[in-house]
Every structure is written in C-alpha cells, then in structure tokens.
C-alpha cells in the first residue's frame, strides 16, 4: 500500500513538473486562458504610453494574437540591436514577466524581462 501511494505521488509530481512543449521559439509566447487581451509592451514602444507622464497604456498598442489561450507576438522587424526591457500586460492591469526568458530586471517597481537583439 505504501509503495502504491509513493508511486501515485511520483506520477503526480512528474505531471506537475514536466515542462510543456514550446510552440515557437522565434516569437514571444505566453499562456493565459482567462485573458481577454495581452499586450507586449517595452522600451521600444515607450511601454505603450499614450502620454508617458501619466503612465497610461494605449489599449491598442501591440496586442498579442490569441490561439486558445496561447498568446504570441513577433518583435518589430526594424528593432535596432541592443537590450530592451519588456513585459506582458494582461487585460490592461496585470504585469507578467516572460516565463521563457530567464533574464529579468526592475522597471517602474515591476519585475520585467530583458530582451537582447544581436
């Protein structure tokens, strides 16, 4: 009986911690089933600011494409080489870092991701 419990626990743990497959490594990808809109905002688009002094985010700025809860976006083609901070903004209110990118820093009291274009 103990072995059965241990085996069940092991199988459950595997399901909990086995990484899911990525869909496309060339794009920014984010999973959020309940989101109505996810925006990719960062240094290159002035953080979606309509007027940056008031910290408002343009609801039409760089909205990601939704496919059954998997949100994807491509970066601007003409982005100059360099380092950029970015974040994923869900429904205009919640900030998330990119879980597929280990590089992070702080911006405006939020933890954000760092993108390197080279």
């Amino acid at each position: 009986m103990d072995r059965l419990i241990a085996l069940s626990f092991l199988l459950c743990s595997c399901a909990l911690f086995v990484p899911a497959e990525r869909t496309d490594t060339d794009q920014i990808v984010f999973h959020h089933q309940a989101a109505g809109k996810v925006q990719l905002i960062g240094d290159w688009n002035n953080w979606g600011g309509i007027t940056s002094s008031t910290s408002m985010v343009d609801p039409a700025c760089d909205v990601m494409v939704n496919d059954n809860g998997i949100w994807t976006a491509s970066l601007p083609d003409d982005l100059p080489r360099g380092r950029y901070r970015y974040a994923l903004l869900v429904n205009g209110v919640q900030f998330f870092t990119d879980p597929f990118n280990p590089e992070r820093t702080m911006f405006n009291e939020h933890e954000v991701s760092v993108l390197i274009i080279n």
């Binding site: 399901a15 909990l16 911690f17 086995v18 990484p19 899911a20 497959e21 990525r22 490594t25 999973h31 959020h32 089933q33 309940a34 989101a35 109505g36 809109k37 240094d43 002035n46 953080w47 309509i50 007027t51 940056s52 002094s53 008031t54 910290s55 408002m56 985010v57 343009d58 609801p59 039409a60 909205v63 809860g69 003409d78 100059p80 080489r81 360099g82 380092r83 901070r85 429904n91 205009g92 209110v93 919640q94 870092t97 879980p99 597929f100 990118n101 280990p102 590089e103 992070r104 820093t105 702080m106 911006f107 405006n108 390197i116 080279n118």
Partner: protein, 392 residues
C-alpha cells in the same frame, strides 16, 4: 559625386523615430478615465480623478510624415476643460531612397539612456518635463542616426547610433543637465563564438566601465542550452567580477539562471541569485527565485499558478530576511476577456510587512479595457475604477 550619393543611398536606413506606416491620413481617439472612493467613508466619496480624451492624427506619403496629438482633459473640481498639445512632428525623406531625411517634433518623450544590466538613465526617473521638449532627428547617411532633444531649458540629450557594421554596433549618448554632464559609449562586437558587450559611462569626471561576454554556450541539446556570461564592473573605488549561467529551453517551456558577483576589494559585497520558471504539462506555471545581496539581505519567492478557463488558482510564499509572507489567488473568468481575481495576502510571522489584499474585476476586448478594484491595506479600503478605449 554620383558614386558618393549612390553609396549613401545603398547604405541608408530608416530614421529610428519614424514609422512610415501606411500612406494616407489616419485619425483616432484615445479615451481614459479614472475614479476612486474611500469605502469606509461611503460611496458618496466616489469622484472622477481624471477624464481625458486624446485625439490623434497622422499623414504619410513618399515625401513626408506628419503627426499630431492633443489632450482634452476635464476637471471635476473646476468644471473646466483644458486643451493641451501633446506631441507634433514632421519628418521629410528623399523619395525613392531607403531613407535619407530629417525631421523635427515636440512632445512628451522622456530621457532614457540604455545600459547593459540596467539602464544608465531610466524612463520616469524625472518629474514631468512639460511639453516644451523639442526633438531634431536625422538619419540615413551610411545608416547612422542621430538626434538632439531639448527638455525645457535645463536638460539636453544628444545621441548618435551606428547601423550594423558587419562585426558590431555602437552608440554614443550625452546628457547635459544644468552644470552636470553624463556621457555613455556602448555597443558590442560579434566574434561568432563570443560577443563582448561594453558600456563606458563618464559622469562629470568619474568613469565607470561594464563589460559582458555573451553567447558562450558550453552545453546544449535539443531540449535546452546553457549560456555562461562573465561580467566585469569597474568604478574608481570598486571592481566587481561576476558569472551568470542561463538555462534556456528550446522546445520546452523552462528557463533558469544562477549567478554570483564578487567585489574584489571587499568580499562582503558578494551577491548570489538564482531562479527558475517552468510551465508544466499539467498547465501549472511554477516560479522559483532567491537572491542574497551582500551576503546579508535575503529574498526568496516560490509560486505556482494554475491558470485555466473558467477558473484558476495559485499561491506564493515570499521570504524577506527573517519574515515570511503568503499570498493566495483565485481567478474566475465566465467568458474570455472578463475575469474576477481575489488575492489575499497574509503574514506568517510578526516581522512581515503589513499585508494587503485586493478584489479586481476587469474586462478587455479589442481596443477597450475596464477595471474595478477594491484594495485593503493598512486599515484602509479603497475602490478604484478605470476605463480606457481606443477609437479608430
């Protein structure tokens, strides 16, 4: 002369600030309003904090790009409407060329000097510098771009950025603010197996240097790669060396890092950080992060969130030195784009920071967002509302 002109055209690139977009006239309107109330004093304290409409227009053609934006704001206190220009710009280019041109604009762009790990100068570190900003930009000659931005009469910002030179790229920035002066020179080289990134900062007479060696990947397979990044930081009274390893998932949703930084002159200034993010096959997003700054200040966080439709839930435990805080979150989304989120934070010991909780209901669809938030913190209960919309 013709050869020089053709060379300039062939190597010409777009001016950075100009997005040619589609030709023709484009008009739009952005609407934003916020309101708040102290719920302990009752809903009668509900009042509009701001109500602003931003009309925008732009015109693009082969020769010219014009754009303008204004702000119409209504104040409930004075019952008055203000109209202010937000930005305006005019850029001209040589028709038929990739981009040889120049332009001028005014608006609310903020100072930002990029760095390596963190920027040298941040957005929003400044008080609002009013709309007296004037920008003059030029670009196209051999792909080089440059601008001069004048903020009021106190702050000037000059920049020149190179195109991709085949083996690297560089940029130079200078900021003059009253009597002080800040200059940066940064860039990187591509040496195939390794990329040295460098940043030199001169603030008045004080020099700082930061370098990194990127793209060194000692291990990799079809699932993930590991990149090792050595760092070197020099300041007049401090020399720090560091090494960070990054785990990047190729076909699997996993990433991580482990890094250490040591001050050569003072070993007590050693910092260590590590973290991992993982989206599991079961649909749970796991996150683990810990750092120890100067061998004395500890922060650690572990969280897991199951984010499905129509409901999700998760939790996090954070540790600040000797204090512990736990957060539980529940999410309900009856239809895509509409969700209610309840987040409750609790101290696990008396040393923890005061907890705060919130209930938020939000909706978003296309160019429209709306949110209603109730926050509990420090014995206060506040209600906030926000609506934004973009109308073409």
């Amino acid at each position: 002369m013709i050869a020089i002109f053709l060379t300039l055209v062939l190597f010409g690139q777009q001016v950075g600030a100009v997005d040619p977009g589609q030709d023709g006239l484009d008009m739009g309107l952005f609407f934003h309003t916020t309101a708040s109330a102290d719920l302990q004093a009752g809903l009668r304290t509900l009042s509009a904090d701001s109500l602003t409409v931003f009309p925008r227009g732009s015109f693009n053609s082969d020769w010219v790009q014009l754009s303008a934006e204004a702000a119409l704001s209504y104040s409930t206190d004075s019952a008055a409407t203000d109209i202010e220009p937000v930005s305006a710009g005019a850029f001209f280019r040589w028709p038929g060329s990739p981009w040889i041109g120049t332009g001028v604009s005014t608006g609310l762009v903020e100072p930002f000097l990029p760095g390596l790990d963190v920027p040298v100068r941040e957005w929003r570190n400044y008080d609002v510098i009013d709309s007296s900003l004037v920008t003059i930009e030029a670009g196209g000659l051999l792909g080089f771009q440059g601008f001069w931005r004048q903020f009021g009469d106190s702050l000037s910002w000059y920049a020149v950025r190179s195109p991709w030179l085949g083996f690297g790229a560089v940029s130079w920035n200078a900021v003059r603010e009253d009597s002080s002066r800040l200059e940066t020179f940064n860039g990187f080289l591509d040496l195939r197996k390794v990329q040295p990134w460098f940043l030199f900062v001169k603030e008045d007479s004080r020099w700082t240097c930061l370098t990194e060696l990127r793209e060194m990947k000692p291990f990799g397979n079809r699932l993930f790669t590991i990149e090792m990044v050595p760092r070197f930081y020099y300041e007049e009274d401090s020399v720090q060396i560091g090494l960070t390893g990054y785990l990047r998932g190729k076909n699997r949703a996993v990433s991580g890092l482990l890094g250490v930084s040591v001050d050569v002159a003072d070993s007590s200034q050693t910092s260590i950080a590590g973290g991992m993010d993982l989206l599991s096959e079961a649909g749970i997003a796991w996150s683990l992060f810990a750092k120890l700054e100067n061998l004395e200040t500890f922060y650690g966080k572990v969280s897991g969130f199951y984010r499905m439709s129509p409901a999700g839930c998760g939790g996090a435990i954070e540790m600040f030195d000797d204090s512990l805080r736990a957060t539980a979150t529940a999410l309900y989304s009856p239809v895509p784009g509409v969700a209610a989120e309840l987040s409750v934070m609790s101290n696990l010991d008396s040393n923890s920071p005061k907890p705060g909780s919130l209930l938020r209901i939000f909706g978003a669809r296309d160019d429209f967002t709306a949110a209603v938030t109730v926050r509990w913190r420090d014995g206060l209960t506040t209600l906030g509302m926000e609506v934004s919309a973009w109308i073409d």
